[in-house]
Subunit: 340 residues, 2 copies
């Protein structure tokens, strides 16, 4: 069953739910905003369904609903925050706001957080940076679930990287995990009883497989083979060891979405040019790519453009919640005595 | 015919050749060092064979042998250099040295160069950064040669990204182009009269192909499909537009290896932790990955480890120059009156 709900209404519900779980109102608002933003952008894996994991994490005592977010180390251009085992979203948001300030003043800001739960979609933070006229770059590492043939273990997480570029209009946004495909595609194949293509996954013994069930017990392959694996290792070091957070293989916590560390950078286009020149050239770049000769019916979309189109549609039509997500949310609301 | 020559001897020859082409001695030394370093690391595509392109570029007047390298903009943490149409290697090297100074003082340095010819292997610069105990990150963009099905044009260059992480011993080094495979693999298949696997290339009309000749007239595919294309677009913006350099589709110059712009960043591990803690954890990370359960005969290699092993071997045994590279170099030396 699909329930379609207006974004504002969904956000208000989520705020109520998180507040009833002892999350402070400011944190609840940022968490709800990030989750609903992901649903609006068609990134449903990082939307309300992930919120349900947070709710469960609080209930079982793994997540601290009222973290004492502390600055551990700060300079004019850098900041490191301890998240006190809270939901990662308000923690990463706090880091992002500070990085924006620094990058506006000094041209560069580098921020990081450790000791935190999942941060949701990295796109949320780099878009905040781009909306302030800065280039945003972000990394995070997660539990190991990428493997390769011959190794009887996962090696690294799907360790996402994200970038956002201001365009004067909506930003160009790339936010991608470093696996060949998202685990959701394999879950879908398993449900439909279909095989998966070769190269998507290996078994837990490190054998290539086209069986989605074996794949789900095993590991995802890295995008682009060894290149993607190398990049996932670098991201593991940059968002884990660089930050003093765990690397993918030693990230603890029961939930599938515990995080290692989070890193975000802001770079001012004014470091090297005038902002106006930069924006002018970005616009001209997008136009050039879009006007390349192509087959009929083919279109060049910039990174983030499919998500922006989905956003525009869902803001009007509402957010469709399927896969039992709505039922689970209703159940949680009843348990917590939150009125709908 | 393969000619094997000691690295020092090869370097001395190249220095003589570039000096005889009116390249200043300091520049000639850095150029020779970078090229021979690539050969030593088994990255022969960025070694002497690329040096031959530089030589030709100078001869036809496209490259300025004695560039007036100028700082266009500088702050405590950033620097932008104009390369005056010189060979990119000494220009990128100058940027790198300045970024190292800045990152040592302030924890972060961001440097860039525009108006330059090819910079060779990015690994050369990020390794210099890592050898100073800093994390190195670099991007560059090049002429458009990546395409996708349905588009009758290349969209972006193979736009490489590189990272180096200090380990207290040899650095972890990832330096990769964003195409599925290097063009050299397709050249090899064409020479052998073999088909190439599906997914490596498209024709110039944007049709998938397994014919290496059609592939060479067409475009390389991006690594990991749309993810890699998205990343190549971001790199195009970061090393082109951000820097005030051309993006891939408008890079001019006759040679195949003209560059758009070059960016390098240095990050100090001391931004967030002590250097000793960082190095300790990196070592422990490498050990953990290497000791994962695996099939007999399989080994986990860190990014850059195959190249480091090749380096150790070639330093002792000499650099093998094949594919007519040695003959071309001898011919050039004769023309220039350089003694061998």
């Amino acid at each position: 069953m699909v329930k379609t709900i207006k974004a504002d209404e969904l956000k208000a519900l989520l705020i109520k739910v998180f507040k009833s779980l002892n999350v402070g109102v400011e944190h609840a608002e940022v968490i709800a905003d990030s989750l609903v933003n992901s649903n609006l952008r068609c990134v449903d894996s990082h939307g309300v369904s992930r919120g349900l994991d947070f709710i469960n994490g609080i209930k079982v005592g793994e997540i601290n609903p009222r973290p004492n977010i502390r600055v551990l180390k700060e300079s004019e251009i850098s900041v490191l925050i301890d998240g006190d085992r809270g939901i990662g979203i308000p923690i990463a948001h706090e880091v992002t706001m500070r990085v924006i300030d620094k990058a506006k003043k000094y041209g560069v800001g580098v921020g990081a957080a450790r000791n935190l739960w999942n941060v949701g979609a990295l796109a949320y933070y780099v878009m905040k940076v781009a909306n302030e006229g800065l280039i945003g770059i972000s990394f995070a590492n997660s539990k190991a679930r990428i493997g390769i043939p011959g190794i009887k273990s996962a090696l690294v997480g799907t360790n996402p990287i994200a970038f956002a570029i201001p365009t004067g209009d909506g930003p160009i946004v790339l936010d991608m995990a470093l696996s060949t495909v998202a685990v959701g595609k394999i879950v879908l194949a398993a449900r439909k009883g279909e095989k998966i293509p070769e190269g998507w996954a290996v078994t837990k013994e490190g054998k290539p497989t086209t069986d989605p069930k074996e794949a789900l017990e095993g590991y995802l392959t890295p995008m682009g083979g060894y290149k993607g694996l190398g990049l996932a290792i670098i991201v593991d070091i940059l968002s884990g060891i660089f930050v003093g957070a765990p690397y993918s293989l030693i990230i603890s916590g029961k939930g599938p979405y515990t995080q290692g560390g989070f890193v975000i950078m802001g770079l001012s286009p004014k470091l090297f040019r005038s902002y106006e020149e930069f924006i002018h050239d970005v616009k001209s770049y997008v136009e050039t790519l879009k006007s390349l000769p192509k087959e009929a019916g083919v279109e060049v979309l910039m990174p983030g453009e499919p998500e922006a189109r989905c956003y525009d549609e869902r803001v009007v039509k509402g957010v469709p919640l399927d896969d039992g997500v709505w039922e689970q949310l209703v159940k949680v609301m009843k348990e917590l005595g939150v009125n709908y």
